[in-house]
């Protein structure tokens, strides 16, 4: 196989040694995959020197390689670039200063989400720092002709909700954004990952990116989820089992019967926390539920073009027998509702479990880290996690603020009251989600129970918009990070699913949602 500057001249020859060198150039293929027949006939991967059986990830990666450099780094084409308020203004200004323009404004999409007040009736300057960023974002996007889903328009929201909702995110696309939770879009079968500030500038100027190919990890969830157990519990459970470094340097493909059974919203949640497992990329092969989800969305292909895309998408899932660098299997039927107790997402236990006792930990470093976490979180070694009193509940973030999340929480809340002394917020992830939820009357359930029903954005997930959990107060959050100070200096964060967060709001303590009297048989229905 020979790679030349002109892609149309790519050739693939039958000899194994040629294939080996070619494969190394293009994909650093593993030796095993070369035992299978060399590429023949039409597929994009074949044209790029990819050999069957290939993984889903490899197919998508290969279709985006413009060239590979000597050091193994690839120049990749970016199909979709999302920019948010923290990056848009500064990076577009850098670009202008450097005398450059945005290469493809039609493949770039912007919406403010991070530094935006979530107050009802908010405006540009409700949070002044965010106002400055938003102004710069408006100027920059207008100057470059980039589509902006602005504050106060019907499509604004957290980028990781807006992409899927608008049909901007498509299976097999390479999608990037200057935000680590970009892996969310893998739920629709996109190869999506977060990039750094200078990379944002690079993508704006060239619509390409230099990346080294990661390894592949398949994480299978086999079996059926129990009642009251959600995608959030699956991924928290996996992170607890495998650790926050498990996915480092890998693209994770989630597979198995429990994953196939998940609805699209839940798949987005599952992929969202890939980065908490150390993986920049998490993805799920697309299937009919994804195609149904996409049909008719504003930026999804229409008519005959949709059918053409569909044919391509159907060829994306990993081939039978494709080899992964690493494979893990978890039993979905054993997963119970999860609750984090510490300051890392891997500090997680089942809700009926116990906080670890550092005295029992032999590894000195680990012992100290548990001690530090318990001290920060104000928990006692070995205590039951359930029953811990809470001050705040936050239902929101790109992990869990979609319509299905709000429905799950509303099912728990309906007809009940938020416990005295607890402040509880629902922050829908996007205007579209908010409208849909309101059309179903979910906001009335929350408001009647004593929740605040707020405006879309990141809000208490990251506290970049002036909304903070006060020091020492305890919050159950449906977001994805429980780092020290994430929700404000000294704030104590417990991560859980929306139903579990709702249960905490109602009871005023960490609670197993399945034990609430009259709990629905299944909250993930």
């Amino acid at each position: 196989m020979r790679v030349s500057a002109d892609r149309t001249e790519l050739e693939c020859t039958d000899t194994r040694s040629d294939c080996l060198s070619g494969a190394e150039i293009v994909l650093q293929c593993r030796a095993e995959t070369l035992l299978t027949p060399p590429c023949t006939g039409y597929t994009i991967p074949a044209a790029m020197g990819l050999h069957t059986p290939a993984t889903f990830f490899d197919k998508v990666w290969a279709a985006h390689v413009i060239r590979q450099f000597d050091d193994g780094v690839c120049l990749l084409h970016v199909d979709r670039h999302l920019i948010h308020d923290l990056e848009a203004g500064p990076r577009l200004n850098d670009l202008q200063r450097a005398g450059r323009n945005v290469a493809r404004n039609d493949l770039t999409f912007a919406t403010p989400d991070h530094a935006l007040s979530s107050a009802i009736g908010r405006s540009t300057d409700t949070w002044p720092t965010g106002g400055r960023l938003l102004r710069a974002m408006r100027r920059g996007t207008a100057r470059e002709g980039i589509r902006l889903f602005d504050l106060g328009t019907p499509d604004q929201g957290i980028l990781h909700l807006v992409g899927p909702e608008q049909g901007i995110t498509l299976p097999g696309t390479l999608l990037v954004c200057g935000d680590s939770h970009t892996c969310t879009h893998g739920g629709l079968g996109a190869l999506a990952f977060g990039i750094g500030s200078s990379e944002v500038g690079h993508v704006l100027a060239t619509q390409t990116l230099r990346q080294r190919r990661p390894g592949t990890l398949r994480l299978r969830f086999e079996g059926q989820l129990g009642a009251g157990v959600t995608a959030k519990d699956m991924i928290l459970h996996a992170i607890g089992r495998l650790g926050t470094a498990a996915g480092r340097g890998h693209a994770v493909e989630y597979a198995g019967s429990a994953v196939r059974a998940l609805a699209v919203d839940a798949r987005l949640t599952l992929c969202n926390l890939s980065i908490e497992m150390g993986a920049k990329i998490g993805m799920i092969a697309p299937d009919d539920s994804v195609y149904e989800y996409l049909a008719g969305r504003p930026f999804a292909p229409k008519g005959a073009l949709f059918d053409q895309a569909l044919e391509h998408w159907r060829g994306l899932p990993s081939d039978e027998g494709a080899l992964f660098d690493r494979e893990e299997v978890l039993d979905a039927s054993q997963i119970t509702p999860q609750m984090t107790w510490g300051t890392s997402p891997q500090d997680v236990v089942p809700i009926d479990g116990y906080v670890p006792d550092p005295a029992l930990e032999k590894d000195a470093e680990r012992r100290q880290s548990i001690e530090r976490a318990l001290e920060y979180m104000g928990l006692k070694p070995g205590q039951a996690i359930a029953g811990t009193p809470v001050d705040w509940v936050f239902i929101g973030s790109c992990a869990n603020s979609r319509l299905s999340d709000l429905r799950e929480a509303a099912n728990v809340v309906r007809g009940r009251q938020v416990a005295r002394g607890v402040k509880a917020w629902v922050v829908p992830g996007s205007e579209q989600t908010r409208r849909q939820a309101e059309a179903e009357g979910l906001h009335r359930d929350f408001l009647a129970a004593g929740f605040e029903w707020r405006s879309p954005g990141c809000s208490l997930c990251v506290a970049a918009n002036g909304e903070l959990i006060p020091p020492g107060e305890r919050c159950v959050s449906t977001a994805n990070r429980n780092f020290v100070g994430r929700q404000g200096p000294g704030a104590r964060t417990h991560l859980a699913s929306p139903a579990m967060a709702a249960a905490a709001a109602i009871t005023g303590q960490l609670t197993d949602v399945r034990r609430l009297p009259g709990a629905p048989a299944s909250v993930n229905a």
């Binding site: 500057a5 002109d6 892609r7 149309t8 994009i44 279709a63 413009i66 060239r67 450099f69 050091d71 120049l75 084409h77 199909d79 850098d94 450097a98 450059r100 323009n101 945005v102 404004n105 039609d106 493949l107 405006s123 540009t124 300057d125 720092t129 106002g131 938003l134 102004r135 408006r138 100027r139 996007t141 207008a142 100057r143 470059e144 002709g145 106060g152 498509l170 097999g172 696309t173 750094g196 500030s197 200078s198 500038g201 690079h202 100027a205 060239t206 619509q207 390409t208 230099r210 930026f299 999804a300 292909p301 229409k302 008519g303 005959a304 073009l305 949709f306 053409q308 895309a309 391509h312």
Partner: protein, 575 residues
Amino acid sequence: MKSFVREEALAAPLMQANIDTDQIIRMQRLIEFPRGELGPYCLEALRFDEDGKERPAFAPHTPRYRGAGILVAAENFGCGSSREHAVWALIDWGVRAVIAPSFGDIFYNNSFQNGLLPVRLPAEEVTRIAAELERADKPRIAIDLEACTVTTPEGRVLRFEIEPDRRAGLLQGLDDIDMTLLDRALIEQFRRDDERTRPWIYRQTEQAIMKKVLILAGDGIGPEIMAQTRRVVEWFMAHRDVRMDLNEELFGISAWKTHGSLMREATWKAINDSDAILFGATGSPEYAKIPPEHNKFDQLLRIRKELDLFLNLRPVRALPALASASTLRPEVLAGTDLMLVRELAGGVYFGTPRGIETMPDGQRRVVNTMVYTESEIARIARAALLLARAREGRLCSIDKANVLENGVLWRDVVERVHREEFADVELSHLYVDNAAMQLVRNPRQFDVMVTENLFGDILSDCAAMVAGSIGMLPSASMNAPDSTRRQGLYEPIHGSAPDIAGQGVANPLGSILSFAMCLRHSFNLPQEAQFLEDVVERVVSAGIRTRDIADAGQASVSTVQMGDAVMLELERSAT
């Protein structure tokens, strides 16, 4: 980005391990100061004590090392968070290179993006260099990136290792973006192939949406200037991936002479179907000869009305090269860059009752009516506020609220839209008489101005003098976007100039710049628009002038020669 080839500079030791990016520049300073102004805060905590006094122990601040361009540091320099600002701060502080045994990964990468050279040498060498600096007469170090050597104060020559790509980039002053753009042809080839295999990535429908563009050259000098504009349009179609379906129809006197009708059915259909109309000019003494039943109304007004082109944009920018063509003093003009937004579909031009009547006593009386509905005012206000938001964020609304009720409602509605939807934009009001004065007194004060139809007509001519010549000024008129499209009509603001028609001396630049507006607003290609505007500016700056903008005594070029000059500059700029 500045290249790095050889540097010989004062060097300072900073032998402290693990200096992280947070120590190099504090988070808070990033918010407070832009790039280029971070120098005073570089390594702040090490340099200054709590009271802001210099710490005597900080070596680079001692007289011996002050102003060092090279730092000699201990291991793991630039570790910690990924902030690129750390590199910026060092550069702003005057540092060109850092020598250390090891660097934070991200800091190391970022250095090459910004023209800072990180040199890795073994720890014991770094310690020795630091010692040499302490005892040298002149603590200077030379770094040669071509040879990959460091020459110590005592003259020892040490080789260092560096990634070949990185070295090449820095030697040429190319950052990652520049390096990638060297592969531009490859990227474009990839995209063309990819668009064939995966068209849905690039568009939503099976057929690529081809914008329909219609040329109506019209009367007087219209055909002459439009012939030059058409060359430019075709150049963009051939060379710049601007895809359109381009057609031309006769308009005005030429239509009358050819078709026996000022507006035949086919032309009207083409107008209705088009996404963008490039319009030349209208107006000719010959209209008087057309029988009144065939000349009932002004066809351009009819287009505006029927397409509901309510939004008229007239950008006014003072080109330094044309300062002498204006009657205003250069220092008054300099830096002017304003956008006049004129309401175009309502007001006294269309209001009824209107007409001249004879009263019972035999004298005649005239009535015109200035009519605006709230929604008509609101939509133009919204458009202007949106535009202001994307520019400097300032809108000045013009009315005559002290005399006309029309102005009272205008002001009321503009304020409401501003309050409810655009509170972030700075809004001010002027009476139209004062606005006319301010335009010639201090045009720089304006960012976006919005006003109703008649006032806009007058003020835009007034503003034209700021730009030097009316022959240079483009305009765009647009309707409200519906779900699929927004129609626009682009025309120079000058008229048909029957006095010079046919002489080949008219200035085509207003029309060519109108096409730039078309690229910006109808094609959403602001880069291409800017590219064309820059080309025009370079042509004018080079001294190539048609008669209307030539300095007294200066030779002038013909319409065609001006077109040639633009085409040549386009070719030259594109490579």
